[in-house]
């Protein structure tokens, strides 16, 4: 496994390559050495043969000379003597060759001496023939034969020695090189194995490369598609080579066919809106220095003259080869831009109308209240000081004016409260709801005392709320119950609280959060028909004539507003003459 892992590395391939080269060098060396030895040895053989040949020739020259001498002795024809006269030169030549080729110099002088002896004996025989000394001749001939035998023996022994040397060398050579074929075989085998391993690795690498290439082309295609769907394009700028590449969609964004013009800086700048050109060039030059910059917006003029809004972002990267490349994407944000413009316009309108509303609030709280307050004060003074001077009708009118003015005051106060519960700033703080309930009870304490009302409440939790609003909610719910109580029956209000899961509450919509506090206000008042349960929360909606029950029809609308501000829900349940139950859901978190 380790080896397989090692093979995955590019270094392995290099090492294998080096080893293969070394093997080839090794084989070459061995072969060279072997071949040169082989050639040495064959030279050796040739030399031995040459030596033997020359020795043979030497012998045959002597024999020729002997034959010539014998021919002359028998015929006394001197023409037979020619081989004899030539013999010394030929023999000398042969001996010097042998001397040159053979290393056994020891035998050469002996041989030379024997041959000189023989030649002298032959010369004496010729001489004895001329003088007809037969007996002496015979003796000389015998001596010649003996010398000849000695020469033969010498030559034979020399030849034999030569053969012997040859065979020793042969054996030595054989000994040295008997291992060579195995060595070469093994080396070639190792070389082969290494080559096979290299081949496997290379082919595996090639496969990997192919796979990677495939993935790359798929990724490329998907990024092309992403660019088309996402309405953006991309570009690359190899800064040092000043080489640009624009994606197909970059061209499309400019309203051109993909790759329809050469990708370079000037061609791209042609499309930038003249007013934004300086800005874009400035940002691009800063990108080269700062590596990364926030996105920047600019306008372009498309091929067909249409002006579009683009957002660009670029990043300087340095690749493995150390080249600096500025990568960038461009997206067409014209639609976003238009929507943003519209939103801004709407926001401005909203702000305007909000300000108008605030101004209205002020008018309502101050300017409307002031004359009303004075009317009421004058009426109160009239009532206190001048009632006795008025007729009964006058007094009746006065009372009606007082009631109408009171009602107007209530309306203004409630309206103000309603618009205040609409306020945008909402200061949530963790508050003890029991304290808020106590404050609420305090607010309506005169009515509680007047009607002998009983309020029984469970312990309420602490909750993150807008305190004054929740207090308002409690006040409104309690005063609502007190207002719609039965005549001559002391009002009773039961306040209960429990934690609940939204899933268990059928009234809650599916969009509700998980957990809520459910706070119920149940009374023993006049109740209402269930069909009006929804209507009572609508602004200015009243179920009763204002002569029967005072009220502006704003209180419960405020309640709903407050509960909505807390992301909660409020529901009403009524039964005529039995009572009403208001259920408030406030989220736990």
């Amino acid at each position: 496994m380790k080896f397989a892992g090692f093979l995955q590395k590019p270094l392995a391939l290099k090492i294998l390559f080096v080893i293969s080269i070394a093997v080839i060098f090794f084989i070459s060396g061995i072969t060279y050495k072997h071949l040169s030895k082989l050639s040495d040895s064959s030279e050796e053989v040739t030399r031995t043969h040459e030596v033997s040949l020359q020795l043979e020739r030497l012998l045959s020259q002597i024999r020729d000379a002997e034959t010539a001498t014998r021919g002359y002795i028998i015929t006394r024809d001197s023409s037979y003597l020619k081989p004899y006269t030539l013999a010394p030169i030929r023999i000398d030549a042969a001996i010097s060759i042998v001397d040159h080729l053979s290393k056994q110099n020891d035998n050469i002088p002996l041989l030379r001496k024997l041959i000189d002896n023989k030649l002298r004996i032959m010369g004496k025989s010729i001489e004895l023939t001329n003088t007809n000394k037969t007996a002496e001749l015979r003796l000389n001939l015998l001596k010649g034969k003996q010398t000849m035998d000695s020469i033969r023996f010498c030559v034979a022994s020399m030849s034999e020695l030569e053969t012997k040397i040859l065979s020793i060398r042969q054996e030595k050579y054989n000994n040295t090189f008997s291992n060579t074929p195995i060595l070469i075989y093994i080396t070639i085998l190792i070389g082969l194995i290494l080559s096979v391993v290299s081949f496997v690795k290379i082919s595996r690498d090639l496969n990997e490369l192919k796979k990677t290439n495939n993935q790359l082309s798929i990724a490329n295609e998907s990024s092309n598609m992403a660019e088309m769907v996402g309405n953006f394009g991309s570009w690359q700028w190899e800064i040092e080579k000043d080489h640009y590449r624009f994606s197909d969609n970059q061209y499309r964004l400019l309203g051109c066919e993909p790759q329809s013009f050469e990708a370079n800086f000037d061609n791209l700048m042609k499309y930038i809106h003249p007013d934004d050109l300086e800005h874009v060039q400035h940002v691009m030059s800063r990108m080269i220095q700062n590596e990364k910059l926030p996105s920047f917006n600019y306008r372009i003029i498309k091929e067909d003259g249409e002006i579009r809004y683009f957002r660009g972002i670029g990043k300087l990267i340095t690749n493995k080869s150390g080249d600096k490349i500025l990568l960038g994407t461009t997206s067409d944000i014209t639609e976003e831009y238009n929507i943003m413009q519209e939103t801004e316009e709407r926001n401005r309108e909203l702000e305007r109308s909000n300000k108008e509303l605030m101004a209205f609030n002020y008018v309502a709280s101050h300017d409307l209240q002031e004359p009303l307050r004075k009317i009421q004060t004058f009426i109160s003074r009239l009532n206190d000081n001048e009632a006795a001077n008025l007729s009964d009708t006058g007094n009746d009118y006065l009372k009606r004016i007082i009631v109408a003015a009171d009602r107007m005051r209530n309306l203004i106060d409630d309206l103000l409260q309603f618009s205040r519960s609409n306020k945008t700033e909402k200061n949530f703080e963790t508050t003890d709801l029991n304290q808020l309930l106590e404050n609420a009870k305090l607010e309506v304490s005169p009515t509680i005392e007047e009607k002998n009302a009983v309020i029984i409440s469970e312990k309420l939790p602490e909750l993150n709320v807008i305190p004054f609003q929740i207090q308002q909610l409690f006040t409104n719910l309690i005063s609502n119950s007190l207002k719609y109580s039965k005549e001559n029956v002391a009002p009773e209000i039961y306040i209960k609280v429990s934690e609940t899961n939204a899933a268990d509450e059928t009234q809650l919509p599916s969009s509700a959060k998980d957990k809520y506090y459910r706070i119920t206000f149940r009374d023993n008042g006049i109740g209402f028909e269930q069909e009006y349960a929804e209507k009572i929360f609508i602004l200015f909606n009243r179920l009763h004539n204002k002569n029967e029950y005072a009220g502006t029809g704003i209180g419960l609308a405020i309640c709903r507003k407050i509960v909505e501000n807390h992301k909660g829900y409020i529901f009403a349940k009524g039964e005529p003459n039995i009572g009403a139950t208001f259920t408030v859901y406030l989220p736990l978190e």
Binding site: Q369, E370, R373, T377, S380, R381, R409
Partner: protein
Amino acid sequence: MNKEYIHIILADDDEDDRLFFTDAFSELKISTKVSTFNDGVELMNYLNDSESVLPNILFLDLNMPKKNGIECLHEIKSNSRFDDIAIAIYSTSSSEEDIEETFVLGANIYIKKPSDFASLKKILSDVISINWQYHTSGLNKDNFLLRL
């Protein structure tokens, strides 16, 4: 407050309100001396005159021409000569912003102008019988607004 009478000043641009105010005090039968000013400039001219007798209690309307109540409050609180004057804001508005701002600026009590004469009398009689030293030391945002 150990003088024979309590010196009271009202700065209010509204003629009717000045009338209610002086009428209420005359009906209250407490020994008071009530002076009224029509706007903030008149008021400050009086107060800044070193010969003027400084009031025990100053009732300050907020919404006045030329110089409004908030500006007057600023000036009064930045002059130590006026440290002994109890300042009661006397306004039609009961908006949180006005109450908050005047409290922070150092007014002593906030009175929302009532809408009947009897209430007005009660409020004014309550206010002048307050022990200001005691009231001021325990003053907080909850008891700043006078409730009846």
